[in-house]
Amino acid sequence: MWTLLQIELFKIFKRPRTYIAFVAITAIVVLIQLALYLDGKTYVGFMLQSIERFNVEGKILNGYFVCYFILQTLLIHVPLLIALVGGDMIAGEANMGTLRLLISKPISRSSLLISKFLASTVYTLLLLVWMAILSLLVSLLIFGKGDLMVFQSQVIIQIPQSDVFWRYLAAFGFAAIAMTTVAALSFFLSLFAENSIGPIVAAMSIVIVCTILTTMDLPLFLSMKPYLFTSHMLGWKGFFDIRATDANSAIPGSIQNLPAILRSAFILILHIIFFVTAAVVIFRKKDVLS
């Protein structure tokens, strides 16, 4: 299995298309950082204007704030970049004609499939690590540290700077589970196609449709919402929802609703297990005609 995983990673990182996602993330993050560096104060002023009697001490536009802003913007679009590789894992091999050569080798189909999924998971994690380095570490270098101000619909949450970094680590960990779910979905769809465009488009269509269902508050969809993976993909935000004392001051190290975050992570992991297991079961019996 280790050899297979090494081979799959070698193939992934030898393909030019693999780096599209890294380049895209770099471009977006740098553009956001540049925009906030040049005109961030206007944006912060706009955010604060609706809030009366709010005295700000310290530097709101700091690295933590910029990272939160980037994550909010980017984690919605990263699934597309994940699907680019996940959707290509089997369908791409079928399209190239290499799948039949792989199957004729003395390796079990299950091992082959699982190694491919693990390789796409490693790719997903590396993409998130790259995103973390750019959005968190580089932002801290450029903008410096400070308390994190999280703007929600009616409230502003202020998290002391000493209590922020671990929250980002947890948030990226959660995002890894969420993005792996998308990788598993596109990987599963990849079984049924002989070119990678189909599964990539199908995966994104499912993500979009489920996201729409998640955001619509119609009674018809309410019962299915808890089971849709898209309802849980933004669970990382929960790490920035801090508990407060009666005097309305933040309790360091606290999370408002940890069980909800864990439940979301559990549901996402269940989705991953379902997609991968279904893929293995189908692939073991699949006739390779490509």
Binding site: K14, R100, L101, I103, S104, I107, D287
Partner: protein, 311 residues
Amino acid sequence: MSAIIKVSNLSKHYREVKAVNDISFTVNAGDVYGFLGQNGAGKSTTIRMLLTLIEPTAGTIELFGRNLFTQRKEILRQIGAVIEKPDLYKYLTAYENLSLFARMSGVSVTEKKLNDQLAQVGLTDRAHSKVRTYSQGMKQRLGIAIALIHNPQLIILDEPTNGLDPQGIADIRNLILHLSRHEGKTVVVSSHLLHEIELIANRMLIIDKGQKIIEGSVAELFDPAQTLVHVEVSNPHEVLLWLQASNWSSYIRDQQNNTILLQMNRKQVPALTTDLVNAGAGIMAIQPQNSLESYFLSLTTENRHVDTFTN
């Protein structure tokens, strides 16, 4: 001689389509086994079943005396294959492709072994070029290098000369003969290029519409009694009517434009020629074809002939 491949009552059906229907055959150790058939005859489907790409609807496959579907990994370790066109990772070099598939075959190969294998197929100079820059012939040679890198006992080549120029075809032919004669490998070669099979195979099977037509040694099947005689005449309708009324009627197989096709023992050709001259046929050419190719054509045209004459 021990059987390397033993296929019994193998079938593969896709709903109503019988891609392969109740085929049985045996390949012995050291054979160069020709697997002949027109496009769509069922050759590739059968080969894919031998390599576990496709699950049979019915039948059993034994390789090296073991059941393929219960001891798949052990069996596949001893097989090298090129399945249809050798599609490889175009963004990798030949060396990287070869190294990668060697590791997947379960063998640890040295750099020297990889280079030697590339040299055997004449790719030393381009070993570190991306495969996307390769010609079809070079890809085919790399595909064969990949099939051989783990020193398999059985080599399965599905249409190995497809898309090659005459020199490439000759190279592949020589390589197959070398593997059989000097390295003692068993080789299964499928092709619709019958002339190629005739030159390299010692045993063969002809498949048509998913069914086995015949299996045997090339020497046995290359029978003078099966000579096809192409009679080209200026007045085909009159000659055909005359032949149908004569003692030659049972030898008629087909008629295409000015050519009438008869099947007979080669020794009968002079007598036929004399009779045709005496009957006033406007003979333009009489061409007996006594090769495996004509034999194959005789079988397939016989099928068409029967269809034509029964309709």
